[in-house]
């Protein structure tokens, strides 16, 4: 079984977000970058399938040169090779544009399962998975928390509101990982050494036949026109807790009569 895993190299989830000078993107100066956590679940599942059933794992990303660090980490965990679609010098590209680039890169490749995280930690749009599936004419299953491989097919448990949907799809299919699917491994020392010898192929949008100018900045299908920090909140009203029953009573009355949420 051959797997392709698309990853995003994103700001660490513990990073404090600062607004950039342009007022519509983040200030990247002190940001630590990581492989998006959801993509780690996807990669782990692909590597596990390779270990039990054989085959290869190829990692693909759309990002600037620094994303090679993230790809190298995926190679160290057990992926075989990597492709980076160069984003260097490009203004913001929205999900539709990223899907076009990934689809162009993946179309000529042969695979049984195409993997993504269910969302990129950061933009949090959750739009890339169905868009890419549509462009590649693949069935897709989003928010996968458990799966079983069948002969030429896969059964997945997909998270929905208050329940799980059991979904079956023939392969090849696009599968999107959700937290809970597995516990991703760390790279071993041996893996890190081996990764140094593996190849990262860099392709430009032009190599893939995509006009980058037509999908980025002012030409993106969706543009971020402003980025701001959430509004500040008022100072807390503390309720004395000497008598828990009295404190609880007072709180409930405030919620009903002052805040009007009960």
């Amino acid at each position: 079984m051959n797997h392709i895993v698309c990853i995003a190299y994103v700001p660490d989830t513990e990073t404090k977000i600062k607004i950039g000078a342009d007022g519509k993107s983040i200030d990247e100066s002190d940001v630590k970058w990581i492989v998006s956590p959801y993509d780690e679940y996807a990669l782990e599942e692909a590597i596990r399938a390779k270990e039990t059933k054989g085959g290869t794992v190829t990692v693909v990303t759309f990002g600037p040169a620094k994303a090679d660090v993230g790809l190298r980490e995926c190679l160290a965990r057990g992926a075989d090779d990597a492709v980076r679609i160069a984003a260097d010098g490009l203004a913001q590209v929205d999900s539709l544009g990223v899907a076009r680039l990934l689809a162009a890169a993946i179309k000529p490749m042969s695979f049984d399962a195409l993997w993504l995280g269910n969302k990129g930690a950061g933009t949090d749009a959750q739009t890339l998975v169905p868009m890419l599936a549509e462009m590649l004419d693949l069935p897709h299953i989003n928010l996968v928390t458990k799966l079983e491989w069948k002969d030429g097919a896969v059964t997945c448990w997909r998270e929905i509101e208050g329940a799980k949907e059991v979904v079956e799809a023939p392969l090849p299919a696009l599968l999107a990982a959700q937290k809970g699917l597995n516990e991703p491994r760390y790279a071993s020392l041996k893996g890190i050494m081996a990764a140094k010898k593996k190849t990262i192929t860099v392709k430009t949008p032009a190599d893939l036949g995509v006009d980058a100018a037509s999908i980025s900045g002012e030409k993106a299908a969706v543009r971020w026109t402003k980025l701001e920090l959430p509004p500040g909140r008022q100072a807390v009203k503390l309720i004395p807790a000497d008598d828990p029953a009295k404190a609880a009573e007072e709180l409930l009355h405030l919620l009903r009569d002052e805040a009007k949420v009960l």
Binding site: K16, A125, A133, E161, V166, P244
Partner: protein
């Protein structure tokens, strides 16, 4: 810009509240665009829904009613939306930002080659294009996003539980229009639905959330929070610490790598307030912090706070809520 098409999510013949919120929002946008609002619904044995949707302002209701649409499939329901869009030629399509909507809308957008304003908390028409705001970086920042004004179709998924659902003063016609989907290709098929125990309310849709963190000390103590949930009609949430400790399923997790929520009331019990968690619930209307540690960062965002032992305070709140109802 004129006509507006709203995708209506139903499960088991019941229209979801988020769909009524999108219909209500569609009606408000239609006042500005001067167009009419139509709804599209897919399922099996659902032709009776048109009346309810008319009450919320749908002049037309496109109905894709077929046995193979009884359970959700992205390919089937996207085909229904696509067929309705072809028949109605809307300039705006709204799809509620539920798990189903966030699966259908991007697939439809890609089919039409247009972008999608995902998960918006506000949505306006400005100079002929849709402009919205949405949380990014799990709520640590807020982006204003705008559609391409030149696009033939502009699509948005409004975040559930943010917009009001209200009936129209005068019901619309609600003319039912059957959709025949020819050559339906469904490859990813739902074979069954495994409901969570006890029909719990999901945190993503809840208007009130009572949430527990490391301070609850172990899974044996969830009943203390569940009792309060029951009295308040709230969903049970959890911090990453509680989920990673294996005390509760990830579907309850609030914050980064969990769900970003914005209920009217969020009660944080024994949650100190890691940056990832605060990002995920920071836009809640009213926040209550209950924590032993007066230095807990949660008190910095809370509306009301009690510095004390949650094992005493939370049961007392449950009792107080019972008395209030009596």
């Amino acid at each position: 810009m004129s006509n507006i098409l709203v995708f209506v999510e139903q499960r088991d013949g019941k229209v979801r509240k988020a769909a009524l919120e999108s219909l209500t929002l569609g009606r408000a946008l239609a006042v500005k665009t001067g167009g009419t609002v139509a709804a599209v619904v897919a399922g099996s044995g659902i032709s009776g829904l048109a009346g309810e949707l008319a009450a919320y302002g749908a002049a037309k209701v496109f109905v894709a009613d077929a046995p193979e649409l009884a359970l959700y499939s992205c390919e089937g329901y996207t085909a229904a939306l696509d067929a309705a869009a072809s028949a109605f030629s809307p300039s705006i399509v709204l799809v509620p930002g539920t798990m189903m909507g966030k699966d259908v809308a991007p697939r439809f957008a890609a089919r039409r080659g247009v972008g999608l304003l995902s998960d918006v908390m506000t949505l306006e028409v400005e100079n002929g294009r849709l402009v919205g705001t949405r949380p990014v970086y799990s709520g640590k920042a807020r982006a204003t996003v705008a559609a391409d004004p030149a696009a033939s179709l502009q699509i948005a998924t409004p975040r559930p539980n943010v917009f009001q659902a209200a009936k129209a003063d005068v019901p619309a016609a609600g003319e039912a229009v059957p959709l025949a989907l020819s050559g339906l290709k469904i490859r990813a098929k739902v074979t069954k639905i495994e409901a969570a125990e006890g029909g719990e309310i999901d945190v993503a849709e809840a208007d009130k959330i009572v949430s527990g963190g490391r301070g609850i000390k172990g899974p044996e103590n969830w009943p203390i929070l569940k009792a309060l949930c029951h009295e308040l009609g709230a969903a049970l949430g959890a911090s990453r610490a509680a989920v990673d400790a294996g005390w509760i399923d990830h579907s309850h997790q609030v914050g980064q790598t969990g769900k970003v929520v914005s209920p009217s009331l969020y009660v944080a019990c024994g949650i100190s307030g890691a940056i990832q968690h605060m990002a995920g619930m920071g836009s809640s209307k009213v926040i209550v912090a209950i924590n032993k540690d007066p230095e807990a960062p949660m008190f910095k965002v809370a509306t009301y706070g009690i510095v004390g032992d949650l094992f005493q305070i939370v049961p007392a709140m449950t009792e107080a809520a019972k008395r209030m109802k009596a």
